[in-house]
């Protein structure tokens, strides 16, 4: 039989390198902009404009209009994509809706006519930003805790159900770490931001990661009752190989949809879909190469200690 679980050191090392790259990106980002990743308006106070002009404008032209209104440091980026000609995103400190409206009018009259059908103005006050960040953090922790309890309950017939729950949660946190690393790297390279959609992606990734892990664990649970005398490492190895067709077929199908949206879908959710893509790959990897080997390592160590 193909020896899969036995090579677990390699998989753990690979995961460590991927997460390590993400952490390096976070540190670089922290040094450069003061936060580990670029934080979007949803989680940080500020105002975001997405404006489409009817004729080409320059970044300096936009900056001038903002400076005239007393805003000294707007972050201006040009938006790329289908139907986004002359579209720009401008981020500033928090301002009231009235002030935002004045600026929009100033852009329209002093710079170039604005297409009102294609503008977006978003403002978030400081208080809500901080609260959302805290709540997002709590949401992830609560999710991890509930999942742990749930798996312990679902696997209550096997010996040491806590190890199953903990391994699944570690794999899930691994995937969350990978997605955060990814957003840190893309934040440095492309300026991608952590927003409410990103949080949605992270939690979806967590859900899929769990699904993959539970499928493998379910097979282990079944095989334990079928072959109670088999060596645990061999049994787990067999369980992975038995479910690997399913894992690959499912992964492939998810990829079909995600890649299609990534290639042909709307520009506004491209980041979201890209994060999902990376997260799903990580999720399948972590359930086969992290969660299950971790379970084996844990069981073995406990056996040796006994």
């Amino acid at each position: 039989m193909f020896q899969l679980v036995q090579r677990r050191r390699i998989y753990f090392t690979f995961s460590a390198i991927v997460i390590g790259l993400g952490i390096i990106a976070m540190i670089v980002s922290y040094v450069q902009i003061g936060t580990p990743f670029r934080i979007g308006v949803d989680f940080q106070s500020g105002t975001r404009f997405e404006v489409q002009f009817q004729e080409p404008v320059t970044e300096d032209g936009i900056r001038e209009v903002f400076n005239d209104s007393g805003i000294t440091n707007p972050a201006i980026t040009s938006l790329q994509g289908e139907a986004l000609e002359n579209a720009w995103q401008i981020r500033t400190e928090f301002m009231s809706p009235e002030e935002a409206d004045e600026i929009e009018q100033a852009l329209d009259s002093n710079l170039a006519p604005v297409n009102p059908e294609a503008t977006l103005v978003q403002t978030v006050s400081p208080s809500v930003g901080a609260e959302v960040t805290r709540a997002a953090f709590v949401a992830v922790l609560v999710a991890a805790g509930i999942i742990l309890v749930y798996i312990m309950f679902a696997f209550r017939q096997v010996p040491n159900p806590f190890r199953y729950g903990a391994s699944a949660v570690v794999a899930m946190l691994h995937d969350i770490a990978v997605t955060f690393g990814f957003i840190a790297i893309t934040g440095l390279v492309f300026g991608w931001e952590v927003d409410a959609l990103f949080l949605t992606a992270v939690l979806t990734v967590a859900g899929f990661s769990l699904q993959d892990t539970i499928v493998v664990f379910d097979r282990i649970r079944e095989n334990i009752s079928k072959y109670p005398l088999e060596d645990f490492e061999m049994l787990v190895n067999r369980s992975i190989l038995e479910t690997i067709h399913r894992s690959l077929a499912t992964q492939l199908n998810a990829m079909f949809v995600i890649v299609a949206i990534l290639l042909f879908g709307g520009a506004s959710i491209k980041h979201f879909i890209a994060v999902l893509l990376v997260g799903l790959l990580s999720g399948t990897y972590s359930s086969i190469f992290n969660a299950t080997p971790l379970l084996v390592a844990w069981e073995k160590r406990a056996m040796e200690a006994a």
């Binding site: 949803d42 489409q52 289908e82 139907a83 009231s96 409206d101 297409n115 009102p116 059908e117 503008t119 977006l120 103005v121 978003q122 403002t123 006050s125 208080s127 809500v128 609260e131 709540a135 997002a136 609560v142 999710a143 509930i146 999942i147 798996i151 679902a154 409410a196 959609l197 949080l199 949605t200 939690l203 979806t204 859900g207 769990l210 699904q211 539970i214 499928v215 379910d218 649970r221 038995e242 067709h245 399913r246 077929a249 499912t250 492939l252 199908n253 998810a254 079909f256 949809v257 299609a260 949206i261 290639l263 042909f264 879908g265 709307g266 520009a267 506004s268 959710i269 979201f272 879909i273």
Partner: protein, 430 residues
Amino acid sequence: MWLAIIVAIAAAALWVAFNDNYPVRQGLDLQGGLQVLLAADVPAEEDVSREDMTAARQIISQRVNGLGVSEPLVQVEGERRILVELPGIANANDAIDLIRETALLEFIDTGSQPLPEGTCVRTTLNEGRPSPCEDEAPAPTFETVLTGGELRNADVQTDSFGRAMVAFQMTPEGGDILGSHTANNIGQFLTIVLDKRVISSPRINDAISDAGTITGNFELEEAQNLALQLRFGRLPIPLTVESTREIGATLGALSVEASLQAGAIGVIVVLLFMLVYYRLPGLLADVALLLYALLNFAIFKWLAVTLTLPAITGFLLSTGMAVDANILVFERMKEELRRGSSLRNAITAGFNRAWTSIRDSNIATLVICLILWGFGRNFGASIVQGFAITLAIGVMISMFTAVIVTRTFVGLVMGRAAEWLRSREWLLGT
């Protein structure tokens, strides 16, 4: 038996899907509009009562209904926030002003002089934010008799000559104050001001206590406006704007069209994959999957789920999980066949053994949905909420279609034709 239920459900779903009484609700990101998140403007340690929030919500609802927006959404989020969504609105700023207006309504004693509408006045009451109108008002300072807080209700009635008038009721305390004031000041004017600006200056004709009428040369519409201002002039709590999103109409439409097409391409590839890889069972699963899509669409319409981009994404991902359930079953069937089981036994074992995986993983996903939903609810992050709702609906429907429906189809087609299939293994994809 199951077949009859499936056919009945499919028929009901078809009916809802093509019934125009159940419109597809498009989210703000699809059709453009304004989203405003308001928060109670009181110190963090101070509690905000549920009743106050509900009352504020109702008042804002009344105000935005006057804007003529189709399907505005006003809901309380968490303990101290109110989310307002106005699809397709053109002038965002006017809408925000209208929502936020925390006008202070006062009845002031202006003695023997009526004041023309729109005049700025000073009053003895100085609570709340300073009014710009008051700053430019000349002396004297009028005495505030009552505020809108003591007013219970106001509506429009017509007298026997068909003239419109405004009838109002006071709270018991307000009635006492008004009673003694009007008894002593018959013939004088009791002027009504909103944010220190005169909206009406009626003469006291009689002593009135807890209920009275304001008459004048009102047009019906004027009277209605006055009643509305009396009733809704005042929010029970001050509100501040925490966040706003103003989305142009075309920005979303282009994006959504492209994403929907892309999703459709992805799903077609998935259907083809299932057909090529699992052959006959794959074909049956494809039929179940189409039924799954139909059921989802019908439920979205029936429950008036607001479709946003993340909501559609949630649906697409749940489609992935529906497919996964069938893959689990079919892989298991193949495994059993390879071990030499009969086709009939392999089918039974495939569904039974795969069920624990499907059940456990789907429950885990539902738990995640619940947490996401709670998170979205507290912070007006309605996009996160939409995602969680469609994903949860999809997962629940998938347990029905991918397990019960596929099983019924497989039992019906393959169970009957087991003998015939034995010599045509290519149809099973083993």
